[in-house]
């Protein structure tokens, strides 16, 4: 938590302050550090001096982190705006707020948050010294043996392009009308299934039909099974699913109806 130790902010040989920008949690952290380090009265911040030091400190932000740069630049812009407001002649009304007031409020508030988060860190450490009775959620064991990667970079790249990004938690659920009705599929199955004969599930799916056709055909198959018009067979997981017309005099079917 102690990100801004004295060593990160020390006068260099030429009198210029050297700051490792990565050590700071953000622009307020840096600003707080500058003010504390120089014993500046927070209610009378020398804006010109602080702004100069702030701008010097953020020189080191690389082009690789635009988000971070943006956050620091936004604060720099705020400092410059405050300085400009201070230079402008101010109306003589008493209720006119010091342009620095909002910044001071944020600094005080941020410092308080820092203090609280340090307290939380201590509470976390104390709590970590006590353990619950050892329940460790079972971890999946890696049983796959190491195999050499027999693929080209192009293939990896192509595969990576095909990976869809995880959907955000707050995803919108779109309700779309079904393009295929289940009833039409029920009719299709009954029409095609002759008495006693079986047909593979895939034979009900024509060329050019999409996933929705497959889903609705499966639902129709399940519905007909429920109505005891047909029955389904599959020899092993992921194998072809067969649909059979149900016949009441079929001894095997009758036997299946007996409770085990």
């Amino acid at each position: 938590m102690a990100t801004n130790s004295a060593s990160t902010f020390a006068p260099a040989d030429d009198g210029v302050y050297v700051i490792e920008i990565e050590r700071f949690h953000g622009p307020l952290d840096l600003l707080l550090h500058l003010i504390r380090q120089q014993d500046i009265d927070v209610f009378d911040i020398p804006i010109a001096r602080i702004t100069r030091q702030f701008l010097e400190a953020i020189q080191g932000i690389g082009p690789g982190d635009l988000d971070q740069a943006g956050e620091f630049l936004e604060m720099a812009a705020t400092l410059i705006r405050i300085k400009a407001q201070l230079l402008l002649p101010r109306p003589e009304s008493d209720d006119d707020e010091d342009p620095r007031a909002e910044l001071v409020r944020r600094l005080l508030e941020y410092e308080q948050i820092r203090e609280i988060s340090q307290r939380l860190e201590r509470a976390e450490a104390d709590r970590a010294r006590r353990r619950v009775r050892g329940y460790v959620p079972p971890r999946p064991r890696a049983v796959v043996e190491e195999t050499p990667l027999e693929t080209t970079w192009d293939e990896v790249y192509e595969a990576a392009l095909g990976v869809s990004l995880p959907e955000s938690r707050v995803s919108e659920h779109r309700v779309t009308p079904r393009t295929v009705s289940m009833d039409s599929r029920v009719a299709l199955i009954l029409d095609r299934l002759g008495r006693g004969a079986g047909l593979p599930f895939t034979s009900f799916l024509g060329a050019g039909e999409n996933r929705m056709h497959g889903v609705m055909t499966l639902l129709a198959g399940l519905e007909l099974t429920r109505r005891r018009a047909i029955f389904l067979r599959q020899t092993a997981p992921f194998h072809e699913l067969w649909l059979y017309r149900r016949e009441d005099d079929d001894p095997e079917v009758l036997a299946e109806e007996e409770p085990a």
């Binding site: 009265d41 927070v42 508030e109 609280i116 988060s117 709590r127 006590r130 619950v132 050892g134």
Partner: protein
């Protein structure tokens, strides 16, 4: 079976704190008062027999936890869950949410001066904060609050166990308060600042 045995069995097997009324549901013959008495008896028993664990009040419930002085012996075992620790930015974000809840992401970002969406998502995934409502304004922003898991993670009995803002030693404020009267006793801006209301609106 005696009530304290039943209570002990339940607390031994549970991996989250349980409240007395929850424990009482184990048996029709058991009521909340009996559970409370049983918990006191167990606590006394563990103390007298110098057990390596005791019954601790966490997040409004009761939990069996090892005593802190044994932490060193437990650390090298893979079979003993190691508590995870939060990063500095995660702790700061959690502090803001804990004290300002319900609070939206933009407000959190204003207080810290940096983006917060990634940190909030992480905290949400770990069950420490959750969406508690929607705010007014454009887009009805999601509002976040801390969870029961938050109290458990830090070993707090309730939200009242968190440090009160007015008991925090705030360096900037302390120093300025002592310097100001000497240097600029008539500074009108002094009164503009929310010195006594650090938890109030910051806008």
């Amino acid at each position: 079976m005696r009530p304290e045995q039943i209570v002990e069995a339940i607390l031994f097997a549970s991996d989250a704190p349980l409240r007395a009324e929850e424990i009482a549901r184990a048996d029709e013959a058991l009521d909340e008062d009996q559970v409370e008495v049983a918990i006191q008896q167990l606590r006394q028993l563990y103390l007298e027999s110098e057990r390596a664990f005791d019954l601790v009040e966490v997040a409004g419930g009761h939990q069996l936890l090892t005593r802190p002085e044994f932490a060193g012996y437990l650390e090298r075992f893979d079979t003993i869950p190691r508590p995870s620790r939060l990063s500095g930015p995660a702790l700061e974000t959690l502090a803001i949410i804990a004290y300002r809840q319900p609070i939206g992401r933009l407000e959190v970002e204003y207080v810290r001066g940096v983006g917060a969406s990634g940190v909030i998502r992480t905290l949400q995934e770990r069950g420490l904060v959750d969406v508690v409502g929607r705010g007014e304004g454009i887009g009805r922003p999601l509002l976040y609050g801390t969870t029961q898991r938050f109290l458990e993670h830090f070993g707090f009995e309730s939200m009242e166990s968190l440090p009160r803002p007015d008991e925090l030693p705030v360096v900037l404020r302390d120093r300025s308060m002592t310097i100001l009267p000497d240097e600029s006793p008539e500074d009108p801006d002094q009164e503009e600042l929310p010195l006594d209301d650090p938890t109030g609106e910051h806008r």
